[in-house]
């Protein structure tokens, strides 16, 4: 079973790029996506789309990964379409509201796609190593970079467990729905709280055991090494150059477009 958004092994050009380059590109692209004018990001969408295709990611896989977020996407769109107050008709559908809704939704989609392009074509260990590389200068400021990176690793690792737990809460609530409608508010709150507490206890117990397992494998706070070797190849430098040029073109475009 493929879990949406996780690494898909492949041999494409994008797969082979240095993880640092991809991480830097996604971060700078994200800033630009948030900041640029609507017409510019329409163009950028096209370029991002080409990148997705060159990574040999099918639209179907991309769709699968975006699907869980569909609810938010629709919500964001509706919120802007209905409650945009430009022409005073509030709330209601207006041309400017619709336009704003489209733009915001488009920005959001591009952000997700950029992030997915990174996570689908880069092994988690490589992303972590790239992150560590960029955070390394902070060591001079006594920031515990190695510890932060391990914490991020653990958070990623716990994510599926949290989602699974969330599912469990929802199912349990569904199973209780019949009783809930009949019982008093106080009892409803009580039942809900006891459920949350049980789940939190499960999480803590798990975290406890994980900490012990880490200790058993000689984990100690502070400096660690990494089995990932990041190396910029000629193709990486070429791509970095092309990317920088494209970013400049986008900026120029953004300046001249309305």
């Amino acid at each position: 079973m493929y879990r949406a958004g996780t690494f898909i092994s492949g041999e494409s050009f994008v797969h082979r790029l240095d993880a640092r380059l991809k991480l830097a590109a996604v971060v700078s692209l994200s800033v630009f996506i948030i900041w640029a004018k609507p017409l510019t990001i329409l163009f950028m969408g096209g370029c991002l789309f080409c990148a997705v295709l060159s990574a040999k990611i099918t639209l179907r896989t991309l769709g699968q990964a975006i699907k869980p977020l569909l609810f938010f996407i629709v919500l964001i769109f509706l919120a802007h379409a209905l409650f945009s107050r430009n022409d005073g008709s509030f709330p209601g559908i207006s041309a400017s509201g619709m336009r704003e809704g489209f733009v915001v939704t488009w920005r959001f989609l591009l952000l997700i796609t950029a992030a997915l392009l990174l996570t689908m074509t880069t092994m988690p260990a490589q992303i972590i190593a790239a992150l560590k590389y960029f955070l390394r200068p902070l060591k001079h400021l006594r920031v515990p970079v190695d510890d932060i990176v391990v914490m991020i690793m653990l958070a990623l690792r716990m994510m599926p467990f949290l989602l699974w737990q969330k599912d469990k809460i929802e199912k349990a609530q569904l199973a209780r729905a019949y009783d809930w409608r009949r019982s008093s508010l106080k009892r409803r709150v009580g039942a809900f709280l006891s459920l949350i507490i049980a789940l939190l206890l499960g999480l803590f117990r798990r975290a406890d055991e994980l900490a012990l397992a880490m200790e058993a494998r000689n984990y100690a706070r502070g400096e660690r090494s990494s089995f990932v070797v990041l190396k910029m190849k000629p193709a990486d430098y070429r791509t970095a150059f092309v990317f920088a040029v494209m970013l400049l073109i986008f900026m120029a475009l953004n300046y001249y477009l309305r």
Binding site: T6, L156, L212, A216, S225, F227
Partner: protein, 275 residues
Amino acid sequence: MISLNNVHYRYEPEGIAALRGVSLEIKDGEYVALIGPNGCGKTTLIRHLNALLLPDKGSVEINGLDTKIAKHHTEIRSCVGMVFQNPDNQIIGMTVEEDVAFGPENLRLPAAKIKKRVAESLQRAGINDLATRNIENLSGGEKRLVAIAGVLAMNPRYIALDEPTAFLDPAAAARVLETMDNLHRAGVGIIHVTHKMEQAALAERVVVLNKGAVYLDATAAKVFAETKLLQQINLRLPQITQMLLKLKKSGLPVRTDIFDPDEAADYIGQLIKKK
């Protein structure tokens, strides 16, 4: 050599004692099964073997290094690997490779050396084909083998495994046991915590724990011959042995020191042919 000397331990100051005076020696390369009723202290005992728990009284020494001395811990934990009961609580990486590299990374080995260790460990655990797979997409049996590989990456002399076949289907369990057997043949000492008698019979030596103390400690054949003592603490013999005992009770002159179905089949086949 692992040596426990009159080890006492309780989790809470006023709580009941989880271990009460355990003395035990395990030699290099030995294959020991640790069995006993639920809550008898098996997990507590093996967690003393790599200084995850420290005795309240008595001492644990690994190759002469006392676990109470903190500066020995890195060496002790590299020497005795620990496979936890639930692999989901042990696996830290998102991919197999990444997880197996976790231990050597903590030892700050250089990248090339870690890669070599990861490849070797995956090979020894028989899962080279899983190297780049996502942990979330693995079966329960595969996760156990990943947990074992992660421990092997530290190059341990001993591995303690806490019920490594719990919740596995028979085929997956057999694969884990086979891996353990291969490691034993390669000279790694195995401490196998289990409540399945059939599996305990695979070990060279069986230690029975009861209420935090060593109850029996001998070869599988000798331990299983103590039917009365085992019954007293509600431990059941392997089914095939139970059957042979019943045959003997009904007056047939059969051996009762057989714990393995294949061996029993051979034996009974020969008996029938002789007639």
